[in-house]
Symmetry: C2
Subunit: 414 residues, 2 copies
C-alpha cells in the first residue's frame, strides 16, 4: 500500500462526464489498496471566466479580491469530484486549502506555500477515505485566500505530496510525458522515461510548459517523486502499466540512464534590447535593469560588452509581450543613463540544450555551436548554467535549429 497524490488539470475536469472518468481512475487506484489524495484544477475555462468578470468591474483587479473570486473554480471542482466518487461507492471528502491548513504568504495572485498541516488529511486517509483538496490556493496568516498563480495546482499537488510524505505525485495532463523536445517541431522527439528534477527545472523555465516551474522546485527541495502522465488514456487501463507510464522526475543519485543531453527546450517569444554607448561606470547594470524590474518586467539573458573608450553596450532579453514597455521605460531614463541609443529586435528565439550529463562531459557547447554554424545560423547571445546552454537566434531559424540539434545529440535514440 502506498500513499499517492493525483493531480488533474482543467481539461480533465472540463465536464461532468470527464469528472466521472477522473473518479473512475482514482477509484481504481484506491481499489488496488492505495491511499489517494486528489488535487483537481478548476473546470477548463472557469478561471478565465471569473477573471474576465472581475476585470469588467475593476481593471486591474485588486489582487486580494481577485483571489477571493478566482479560488472558487477549484472549490467547485473538489465538491464535484467528491460527489462523483461517492456516486460510485467510494467514501470521499473535499476540502478547500484553508480547511487543511495550506498556509501561504500574502503575495496575492502569486503566493507561495509556506506550510501544510497534514493532520486532518491523515485522519481521513486512515478511515479509508479519498481526500480531494483544492489546488491553486491557500490562506495567509490573516486567513485571506491567496492563489499561487497560473499552473499553481501543480505546485499544490507536489507540496501536498511533500507534506504527506507521499510515495509518488502523479500529474495527469494532456501530454503523455516529457519529451526530448516539442514533437510538433521535431517528429522524432522521444518521450523520456526519467528526467532529473534539475533538468526538468531548466526545461520548465525555458518554456516547456508541462509543469509549473515552482512545482518542480518543490519536487526537488522535498525530493517528491513526481510523474507526468496522460489523463487521456482509458481510466480503467491496467494499473501496473499506468504506474510506469509517462515521465518520472527523479534525483540524480538514483542513477539512471544518464544521457549527456536530455532535451532541447525553446522559447519562441523573446525580444532583445541593446542600450548602446552607455558610460561604463560601476552600477551600470543596476541603473539599467532597476527601472525595468520596477515596471514588473522580467529580464532573462544579460550581456555587457567589453567597454571601449569608457562606453559600453548592454544587451538583455525580455518576453516579447514586455518589449515595447521595456523600451519606453528605458527611453524615459535616457537623461539619467546617458546612453547614445536603443536598438532592439522583437523577432528572436531562445534555444537551450539541457542535461545533467553535461557536468561530466566536455564538448557539448562546441558541438552545439558547430551544429548551428553548419546550418549557417548566427548566434546572437549565449548564456550557460551547469546543466544547460542557451543561445539566442533569429526567430525564423528556430525550428531548423531545434531539429538540427535534436539530430546532432542523437536524442531520438534511447
Amino acid at each position: 500500500m502506498a500513499l499517492i497524490v493525483h493531480k488533474y488539470g482543467g481539461t480533465s475536469m472540463g465536464s461532468t462526464d470527464r469528472i466521472k472518468n477522473v473518479a473512475r481512475r482514482v477509484a481504481k487506484w484506491h481499489d488496488a489498496g492505495h491511499q489517494v489524495v486528489v488535487v483537481p484544477s478548476a473546470m477548463s475555462g472557469e478561471t478565465n471566466r471569473l477573471i474576465a468578470l472581475a476585470k469588467e468591474i475593476q481593471n486591474p483587479p485588486d489582487p486580494r479580491e481577485l483571489d477571493m473570486i478566482a479560488s472558487t473554480g477549484e472549490q467547485v471542482s473538489v465538491g464535484l469530484l467528491s460527489m462523483a466518487l461517492q456516486a460510485i461507492g467510494k467514501a470521499a471528502v473535499s476540502y478547500a486549502g484553508w480547511q487543511v491548513g495550506i498556509k501561504t504568504d500574502s503575495a496575492f495572485t502569486k503566493a507561495r506555500i509556506q506550510s501544510i498541516d497534514d493532520k486532518r488529511v491523515r485522519a481521513d486517509l486512515d478511515q479509508n477515505k479519498i481526500v480531494i483538496i483544492t489546488g491553486f490556493q491557500g490562506v495567509d496568516e490573516n486567513s485571506n485566500i491567496a492563489t499561487l498563480g497560473r499552473g499553481g495546482s501543480d505546485t499544490s499537488a507536489v507540496a501536498i505530496a511533500a507534506a504527506l510524505k507521499a510515495d509518488e505525485c502523479l500529474i495527469y495532463t494532456d501530454v503523455d510525458g516529457v519529451y526530448t523536445t516539442d514533437p510538433r517541431v521535431v517528429s522524432e522527439a522521444r518521450r523520456l522515461k526519467h528526467i532529473t528534477f534539475e533538468e526538468m527545472l531548466e526545461m520548465a523555465s525555458l518554456g516547456s510548459k508541462v509543469l509549473q516551474t515552482r512545482s518542480v522546485e518543490f519536487a526537488g527541495n522535498y525530493r517528491v517523486p513526481t510523474r507526468v502522465l496522460s489523463s487521456l488514456t482509458d481510466p480503467l487501463m491496467d494499473l501496473a502499466e499506468e504506474a510506469k507510464s509517462g515521465t518520472l522526475i527523479s534525483f540524480e543519485e538514483d542513477n539512471m540512464e544518464q544521457a549527456v543531453i536530455s532535451g532541447i527546450a525553446f522559447n519562441r517569444d523573446e525580444a532583445k534590447i541593446t542600450v548602446m554607448g552607455v558610460p561604463d561606470r560601476p552600477g551600470v547594470a543596476y541603473h539599467i535593469l532597476g527601472p525595468v524590474a520596477d515596471a514588473n518586467i522580467e529580464v532573462d539573458m544579460i550581456i555587457q560588452n567589453q567597454s571601449v573608450e569608457g562606453k559600453t553596450d548592454f544587451t538583455f532579453t525580455v518576453s516579447r509581450n514586455d518589449y515595447n514597455k521595456a523600451l519606453e521605460v528605458l527611453e524615459g531614463q535616457k537623461g539619467e543613463l546617458g546612453f547614445a541609443s536603443l536598438i532592439g529586435d522583437a523577432k528572436v528565439s531562445k534555444i537551450s540544450v539541457v542535461g545533467v550529463g553535461m557536468r561530466s562531459h566536455v564538448g557539448v557547447a562546441s558541438q552545439m555551436f558547430r551544429t548551428l554554424a553548419d546550418e549557417s545560423i548566427n548566434i546572437m547571445m549565449i548564456s550557460t548554467s551547469e546543466i544547460k546552454i542557451s543561445v539566442l537566434i533569429d526567430e525564423k531559424y528556430m525550428e531548423l535549429a531545434v531539429r538540427a540539434l535534436h539530430k546532432a545529440f542523437e536524442l531520438e535514440k534511447e
Copy 2:
C-alpha cells in the same frame, strides 16, 4: 453616524453593471457618514447553475459537498462588489462566512447560524472600510462549509446586523415593501409602512415570499430593526427619502398605527388528505403523522373529528408537491393504522388574515366567515393563532376570497 447592514438579492447582483449600481448605492450611505456592512447574494442564476452541475454528477447530491459547491456563488459576489467599491474610490474588503466566524450547526443545505464573531468586521469598520460578507453560509465546528438554504442570505444579513448591534438592516429586493396582500391579485393592495415582526412571521410562513421566515425570526429574537425596500430605484436617490421607504419590521411596543388586520396572505399550492374511519385510540395523530414526517413531508393544518362509534376521521394539509408521496406513505401504513379509506383533494388553497390587533379585537373571525359566506365560498378547514386566522377553500375561489376579504377589512385605506 449609524451602523447599517445592507442585503442585496441575486437580481440586484445579476450583472457587472448592476453590481456597479449596488456599489454606488452603498457608497452613498458611506458618504453620508454611516458604517456599512453589505451581504450580497450570488449572481442570479448562479446557485441554480451550481446545483444543476452537482446533480449531473450525483442525485441527490451529498449535502456537505453540495454546500461546498453552492457556497461559491456568494464568494464570487463579495469579491466583485468589493472591487466595484474600490473602483469608485472606497476602501472595501470582502469575507467569506468562515473568515468572520459565522458558525452554524452541521445541518448541511439547511444549517442554522449559531454565533458570529464581530471582531474582524468591527476593526475594519473602525478603519472606515466597507465590509462585504457572503450571505447564505457559515462553517460548522469542524470548519465544514454549511449553507442556510434558499433565501438564506436574508437570514445572514439579519444575523450579522444582530451580532454587530446594527442600527438597521436594509433588505433591498425587487419589491418595494410588504403589501396588505399580493398586488397581482388585488390591485388596491397597499404598501405597509410598518409591520410587526410577528405579523411578518405569519405573512412569511403563509407564503408571502418577501423574506425568508428564519430571517424574520432572527429579527424578532434579536430585535433587529429590519426594512424591506426596493433595489430598483435610482441608486443615487435622496438618502433621507430612501431611508424611510419600504416597510419597517418593528416591535409591537413601539406602538404605531395598529390596524386590526395588517394583511391577507395566501398559499395557492396546498393539498388536503383525509384518513377516513381510523380507530380512535390514544396516539392516533402520532401514528398517522409520524411516517409522514419521516418521509420529510411538512404538515400544515390538522383536524381530528369527533369520534363516532370508536372511529374518527383525520384531516391534514401538505404542500401540493408532497401530495402523492404523502398518499403513498399512508397507503403503505394501511394495515398498521386500520383505516377504512383515504380521500384527498390537491386543488385547495389557504387564505389567512393576519394582524396583531386581532388580540384586542373580537369579531375578526366572524367578519371573515361572513364575508366568505356572502360570496358562497365553502370553508373546508379552519386554523387560528393569536394573530392570524387561516381557512382552506377550493382553489378556484382563491382570488375572489382574497379580494372580498381585502375589501371587507378595508385594507386599501391607511
